[in-house]
């Protein structure tokens, strides 16, 4: 977490602990903090304060968007094949349609158009893919939706986007936007859904009517205040962080490609290679994702951890085992290669030394594993 966010939340775990729905002075103090946080976040996201619904994280926000719209309006829900499970599962649970992506992981707009009709109530396409860092063309998606399903609302899971992109611009076309605090230096277990005025949405949690009846339950004031502070810090430093991270990301990916045979960068057009500079303009700066021939990420991550390089592969299931990535499968990456995926994430706290450490650690670990077949 960002230290500023930690500091911001502490008073609300201690002396300013009150329930913002109460009627006394302590409650009004908490309420004030909640209102401040809501206003700040609204500004940073490009929404009106009343459009912000606080949730317990990104998964709840995604579920509320998909299921809330479906419960309110019925009809068909549609999403891309590379969505986070927090969108895919709700869509599939309602018998929705899943739209394929191309080899870079970008939604196929023709297939999207073909999947749309009058019955469609919601289309959900993420802003940035959490595994590959590929940015989806939301404006083009919105145009296709307007043309082929004018009554549908557009939801975007922007959980992976806020840290790297100016979401006020990138998500302006979306009617619903999900965010999670822990992706930009806030605490886990808190997030929000932007619900633009006029979008019909049935609540998932019924009770005391908090969040204008869209999400009952006492607000997590400390978490929300910390999320707002983390968002403020993120937005204030974003341009600088993105600029330096992009340089490191390029160094990492180009360095791996130079040091090792059989490193396939995901999210770029074609097989790449042959000295030509790789076009990474469609990817956010903070994710370096590759698939490596002849190794398994489980074993690679184990060896990297021994030299204190902490990376990840695809997503993990409840048991902690690595599952073959549905994102890579949707991109047409062969299963054996997908088992060799490696995601090196960079953030606001990363340093040039981290990049050097990763560049020093990955090639020998890969060579070792390859030598054992």
């Amino acid at each position: 977490m960002r230290p500023e966010a930690v500091e911001a939340m502490l008073p609300f775990l201690r002396e300013r602990f009150a329930n913002p729905s109460g009627a006394h002075a302590w409650a009004r103090d908490a309420r004030r903090a909640l209102d401040d946080a809501r206003e700040l976040l609204a500004e940073l996201i490009g929404a009106r304060p009343g459009e912000i619904v606080f949730t317990a994280g990104g998964t709840e926000a995604d579920n509320l968007a998909v299921l809330g719209v479906h419960d309110a309006r019925g009809g068909t829900v549609v999403c891309s094949a590379v969505e986070h499970h927090a969108v895919l599962e709700p869509v599939e649970s309602r018998g929705g349609r899943v739209v394929p992506v191309d080899g870079r992981g970008v939604i196929d707009l023709d297939a999207l158009a073909a999947a749309l009709d009058e019955s469609v109530a919601l289309v959900s396409v993420m802003l940035v893919n959490n595994e590959t860092g590929v940015v989806q063309p939301l404006e083009e998606v919105a145009a296709v939706v307007r043309r082929h399903a004018p009554g549908a609302v557009l939801h975007t899971d922007a959980v992976q986007g806020f840290q790297w992109l100016d979401v006020t611009r990138h998500t302006a076309v979306a009617d619903l936007v999900s965010l999670a605090a822990h992706k930009f230096g806030g605490p886990k277990g808190v997030g929000l859904l932007v619900v633009r005025d006029g979008v019909e949405l049935a609540p998932r949690l019924l009770g005391g009517g908090q969040e204008r009846n869209r999400r009952s339950g006492t607000q997590n004031v400390a978490g929300i205040v910390a999320m707002a502070e983390a968002a403020r810090c993120t937005a204030a430093t974003r341009d600088e962080v993105v600029a330096r991270t992009r340089v490191w990301r390029d160094r990492l990916l180009d360095g791996l490609a130079a040091a090792l045979e059989g490193v396939h960068e995901t999210g770029v057009a074609g097989p790449g290679g042959a000295g030509a500079p790789v076009d990474r303009s469609d990817k956010v700066a903070g994710i370096a994702h590759v698939c490596i021939d002849g190794i398994e990420s489980e074993a690679l991550l184990f060896l990297l951890e021994e030299v204190e390089v902490y990376a990840s592969a695809a997503s993990s299931c409840a048991s902690g085992a690595m599952e073959p990535s549905h994102v890579l499968a949707a991109m047409g990456v062969e299963r054996a290669l997908a088992f060799g995926s490696l995601r090196l994430s960079l953030g606001f706290a990363s340093t040039a030394a981290d990049v050097d450490a990763a560049l020093a650690a990955v090639p020998p670990a890969v060579e070792r594993l390859r030598s054992f077949g």
């Binding site: 489980e298 409840a318 085992a321 299963r335 054992f372």
Partner: protein, 356 residues
């Protein structure tokens, strides 16, 4: 154990492997725990359920060792589940635990461990690795004879035995549970695993599992003279030696003597017809080198070791195909084709294969 080694212990989430890890730690080894994710995901019982992984992780935390989960699901499907189904489809009796040990624990995991810099893999099996005077190793029966699992480890060769530790083989089950109790491990009172781990009662058991994978094949029961005497609803579910479900058998019970899954015919007969003088064993794996002469043979995981005389099968040209003829000292019930037969010299495994 003289020198400390770097050991990867396979934690299933059960009490035996928990104590295997604890014993290795006491001996001063550098221990890391791993749970193999082999099958299913959310099943409430059997191996690899989330709750078993939770137990394994919690035990590792309590012991203060690292814990990892390796997903070997594809290998498990290819080497254990698919052959299990194929064996039933062919009217044979599969040995899924043995295939899992052969292909997963002592191949896939052992190779992974080596690549990650481990000296050995340990499991919680009730069996021992013993070293003979000549320096070669054998799997030997565990101290708790009733819990002995040497049968399912018979395929281990010298290379694997040199890198395998079976720490709980020296204890009986009560001691294992007592140790776990002392250490306050949550697995102390956990029931022993039973049956085939990837088949759950909630999923309808074995018949339902196979029914979803093999088209049902009604079968006719014939006597040894070829006369039809009854029917079975699915020939794939009949095992040689089976008595249950094979009809009235007015008076004398009726046993399956042979299963021809392709033709849909089960030959049945009385107990006398079930008895054989000898059994041919193929696909042999020897611990060190081929053995023959007076040995003991065990035909199921907890079966009685039976005295026998073992000799290589010779073809007409005098050469052999590697199979052996096991001549029983006393006539024995027919062993279902596909069933593993393990050969012992005293308490030590010398090899094993499958009944033909």
């Amino acid at each position: 154990m003289s020198t400390a080694r770097r050991v990867l212990v396979a934690l299933s989430g059960g009490v035996d492997s928990s104590i295997a890890a604890a014993l290795l730690l006491e001996e001063g080894h550098d221990v890391v725990g791993v749970t193999m994710k082999l099958w299913g995901g959310e099943s409430d019982s059997g191996c690899c359920s989330v709750s078993d992984v939770d137990d394994a992780r919690r035990v590792a935390q309590q012991l203060g060792i690292d814990h990892h989960v390796f997903n070997f699901g594809d290998d498990f499907t290819r080497h254990v589940v698919d052959p299990y189904v194929a064996a039933h489809a062919a009217g044979c009796t599969p040995n899924p635990c043995i295939e899992c040990n052969r292909h997963l624990k002592f191949d896939r995991l052992l190779r992974r461990a080596e690549a990650l810099g481990f000296d050995a893999v340990a499991t919680g099996h009730h069996a021992r690795v013993v070293t003979r005077c000549d320096g070669t190793r054998r799997v030997a029966r565990g101290a708790d004879v009733r819990k002995d699992q040497s049968y399912v480890l018979h395929m281990l060769g010298q290379d694997q035995l040199a890198r395998t530790l079976l720490p709980v083989g020296a204890l009986d089950k009560q001691e294992v549970r007592a140790r776990a109790e002392e250490l306050g491990l949550r697995t102390a009172a956990k029931p022993d695993s039973q049956d085939v781990c990837f088949i759950t009662r909630a999923g309808g058991g074995r018949d339902a599992f196979l029914g979803r994978r093999i088209p049902r094949r009604r079968g006719v029961l014939v006597d040894t003279g070829g006369v039809a005497v009854g029917e079975v609803s699915d020939v794939h579910l009949v095992t040689v030696g089976q008595r249950r479900g094979l009809g009235p058998g007015n008076g004398a019970p009726r046993y399956a003597l042979a299963v021809d899954a392709e033709a849909g015919v089960v030959t049945v007969g009385g107990l006398a017809a079930l008895l054989v003088e000898e059994t041919v064993v193929g696909e042999l794996v020897w611990a060190h080198e081929p053995a023959s002469g007076r040995l003991l043979a065990q035909c199921s995981a907890h079966g009685t070791p039976l005295p026998c005389r073992v000799a290589a099968v010779r073809g007409p040209d005098g050469g052999g195909d590697g199979s052996v003829r096991v001549r029983w000292t006393e006539p024995q019930r027919r062993v279902a084709p596909g069933q593993s037969i393990v050969l012992y010299d005293g308490d030590e495994v010398v090899g094993g294969g499958v009944a033909r």
